[in-house]
Amino acid sequence: MSATVTHHYTSTGLDNRKIAIWAFIGSECMLFISLISTYLIYKGRSVVGPLPHEKWTDPSTGHTFAPILNIPVTSMSTFVLLMSSLFMVLALAAVQNKGRPLPANAGWWTRKLASSQLWLFMTALAGATFLGFQAYEFTSFVNEGLTIKTNLFGSSFFTLTGFHGAHVTAGVLWLLALLSIDARRGLGPSDALNVDICALYWHFVDVVWIAIFTLVYLIR
């Protein structure tokens, strides 16, 4: 980042880092496909509850567990994560356009749109909010009696969504690192590639969540 920007000849004209991040994302697809497939294979095969979409009565205690997934709450966190992708797009645009003079009659909104720090912060904040929702979801599941050890659903659900959460966490740390550089010396068009790569990763993590939300929460 503070590293010298060097322009070596490349065969495609693209920066090496851009190619590498796409290779990385391809690899990550297989990672999540493996996790999601396992979840789907084990769907409906748990021998004890709590269960995602169905009620379950413990035969030994007679206690009935409600369906555990809280779809309205997760819909909200999904919305927040989707919005973060919009903020990411704005952050990248702000970095790419840094230094370009604003029109004389630029209003408050136009000036705000040009603030890369604001949008990097908003992206990270939305990511952190999503993680907050996930922490709430995990603790409430544990309180209701579903842990990673309880049944096949618990093992595959917590592992899948936990892996996704870890990816979001890494993304938030990445965004905060960019934000701190932006605050220290300002990110400009010459840094756009660094932000672009982070954005690709962030959108990917977002797309994976859409798959998870659909397959785990929405489809019964």
């Binding site: 980042m1 060097t6 990673i148 050890k149």
Partner: protein
């Protein structure tokens, strides 16, 4: 050779890292030096895995022997497989990826030199992590495929499998990081004019392998994560008894990785042989485009055949039929390669030197292994053969007869480029013939032992089942291979010091790596060549030859040409150390996990924030 006047001999920013001493090796980011490190380390592990094999053969040489206990025998065959696959053959291929890809495509280094160093150090530390336990008889003992639920805590309570799960996870990091690096290098750092269809065949096969690595390794990563969580955190992924888990989950995940892994092991050897055969037949590779397409087809089909490892579990006729047909289909592109190599040699001026002998041996021996492979692509035949020594014979013909023979062809062919000196031909031929004869004496009788019903992975057997003589021959053969490896080691160490001087192009080969001095200077190419042909030194225009003459200049430094070289740095090694320490913490205490993670994150940040190379002017 024209004397080039050097106006500014030492530009103030010109930097050439330390070139000698231990520190220079710990901090190197030069792809050639990293390739050399890979080569030495992998040859060491190859011998280590070989010693394990020799102990196995000593145990099985006669019936009812008790040289080692059943428990230790399990550790031996597990670690023999794990070592040879993950610590010997894959890194030997990686040694060639490192050394050759930039030279063959006309680049100064790989795309990410520091990431490249990181891959090596993770491999080294991970390799030590997974091999040391056998010295204390606590090595992994669940087979190289580690079938769960057998490897879950309920059935493998000891620390043995923990080493395996964590060790493979570490080695996966190394392979993936390297794959992203080489993929980017081949896509993006080709010299002007080096279109994809002009790339040397080794680089092509390496390119295909990087795709396989990128797509196959995440699957075993997840399979191992599940096993790790089951063993450490009590999840139920493989808990078939209490939680209703599917006993086939591991097998499917493992073989979705495991079958592409087979092509990860063989395709680099195919690539090396595709360099050796044309150079020593004085003919361009026959059917170059078909060789490219068949390599790609092998890789694509390789993702659709995993369940042929599972015919015995009873998947039903539809799945069996699908996987059987897909497996038979792979025989077609593989056969195309075999015929193309033969057609390359046909009517060529074939020179039977050591690399060529090893290359021809691959063509012959891999064909035998391929044919026995097609035999057990048929489920009814497979049901007779699975878990017998017939399978052991099959995969040793493809891995020893194929991968190892191909890699040795590559070592004899490229040793002059790497060291500037030739390997001794006489010792090389002794090595070759001992390998060829020893290999066949070892593995051919296993076909018969298997057909007579001898199961794999038994630590001893009773007399009178017709297996004695076959096992005796196998053991004799294995010691011939052992002796031959010592001949090679002697040749290797001796020739590095006193071999005949090689010169830039001892074989009269055609590709870019032969246009530069041997050993190549740290900057590789004084001037990045412009490529106009698949075989610049055979059919190149005057411009190609002129650029080759310029690049053949010896005794120059990067500063002479004003070439900016990357800084040496210790940081990748420290990040690798932190990563492995973090994993070690799983077996010891949380303090170690946090200590390792802390070292990794801090050194990773300093790495990312420090420049790769001096500023350009």
């Amino acid at each position: 050779m024209a004397s080039t006047a050097i106006a500014t001999p030492l530009a103030p920013t010109a930097y050439s890292g330390e070139q000698s001493g231990v520190w220079s090796w710990l901090t190197t980011v030069d792809h050639k030096r990293i390739g050399t490190l890979y080569l030495f380390t992998a040859l060491f592990f190859f011998m280590w895995g070989g010693v394990e094999a020799l102990i196995i053969r000593a145990q099985l040489g006669a019936p009812n022997q008790h040289l080692v206990s059943a428990e230790f025998y399990n550790q031996l065959f597990t670690m023999h497989g794990t070592t040879m696959i993950f610590l010997a053959i894959m890194p030997l291929s990686a040694a060639f990826f490192n050394y050759l890809i930039p030279l063959q495509i006309g680049a100064r280094d790989v795309a990410f030199p520091r990431l490249n160093a990181f891959s090596y150090w993770v491999y080294l530390f991970g390799g030590i992590f997974i091999t040391v336990p056998i010295l204390f008889a606590v090595a992994p003992d669940g087979g190289w495929f580690g079938y769960a639920p057998l490897t879950t805590r309920a059935y493998s309570p000891g620390i043995n499998i923990d080493f395996w799960v964590i060790g493979l996870q570490i080695l996966g990091v190394s392979s993936l990081a390297a794959a992203f690096n080489f993929l980017t290098t081949i896509i993006n750092l080709r010299a002007p004019g080096m279109s994809l269809m002009r790339m040397p065949m080794f680089t092509w096969m390496s390119f295909v392998v990087q795709f396989l690595l990128v797509l196959a390794f995440p699957v075993i990563t997840i399979a191992l994560v599940f096993l790790l969580f089951d063993r450490f955190f009590g999840t139920n992924f493989y808990n078939t008894v209490d939680a209703g888990a599917d006993p086939l989950l591991w097998q499917h995940l493992f073989w979705i990785f495991g079958h592409p892994e087979v092509y990860i092991l063989i395709l680099p050897a195919f690539g090396l042989v595709s360099e050796v055969i044309p150079a020593n037949s004085k003919k361009p590779l026959f059917g170059y485009p078909v060789m490219v397409y068949s390599g790609i087809l092998i890789a694509v089909l390789g993702f659709g055949v995993w369940a042929h490892h599972m015919f015995a579990v009873g998947m039903g006729p539809i799945a069996d039929t699908f996987f059987s047909l897909a497996t038979m289909l792979i025989g077609i592109p593989t056969g195309v390669k075999i015929f193309n190599w033969i057609a390359t040699m046909a009517q060529g001026h074939v020179r039977l030197n050591t690399p060529m002998l090893f290359a021809i041996a691959l063509v012959a021996l891999f064909t035998i292994g391929g044919i026995s492979g097609v035999m057990h692509s048929s489920p009814p035949a497979d049901l007779q053969q699975t878990d017998t020594y017939f399978i052991v014979a099959h995969f040793h013909y493809v891995l020893f007869g194929g991968s190892i023979m191909g890699i040795f062809a590559g070592i004899y062919h490229y040793f002059p480029k790497m060291t500037g000196r030739m390997l001794d031909e006489k010792l090389g031929k002794i090595h070759f013939w001992l390998y060829f004869v020893g290999m066949n004496i070892t593995f051919f009788p296993m076909h018969f032992a298997g057909m007579l019903g001898m199961p794999r992975r038994i630590y001893t057997y009773d007399a009178g089942q017709g297996w004695e003589s076959y096992n005796f021959y196998s053991s004799i053969g294995s010691y011939i291979i052992g002796v031959a490896t010592l001949v090679f080691a002697w040749n290797f160490l001796k020739s590095r010091r006193s071999g005949a001087i090689a010169g830039p192009n001892p074989w009269g080969a055609a590709t870019l790596e032969w246009t530069i001095p041997s050993p190549p200077p740290d900057y590789n190419f004084a001037k990045i060549p412009t490529v106009t042909s698949r075989y610049p030194l055979w059919e190149g225009k005057e411009a190609d030859l002129e650029s080759a003459r310029f690049n053949a200049q010896e005794g120059k430094t990067a500063a002479d040409f004003g070439i900016v070289m990357p800084y040496n740095t210790i940081k990748p090694m420290i990040v690798a150390f932190g990563l492995v320490l973090m994993f070690c913490g799983l077996l010891t205490s949380r303090v170690i996990i946090f200590l390792g993670a802390g070292i990794m994150i801090v050194s990773l940040f300093t790495w990312l924030l420090s420049p790769l190379e001096p500023e350009h002017h």
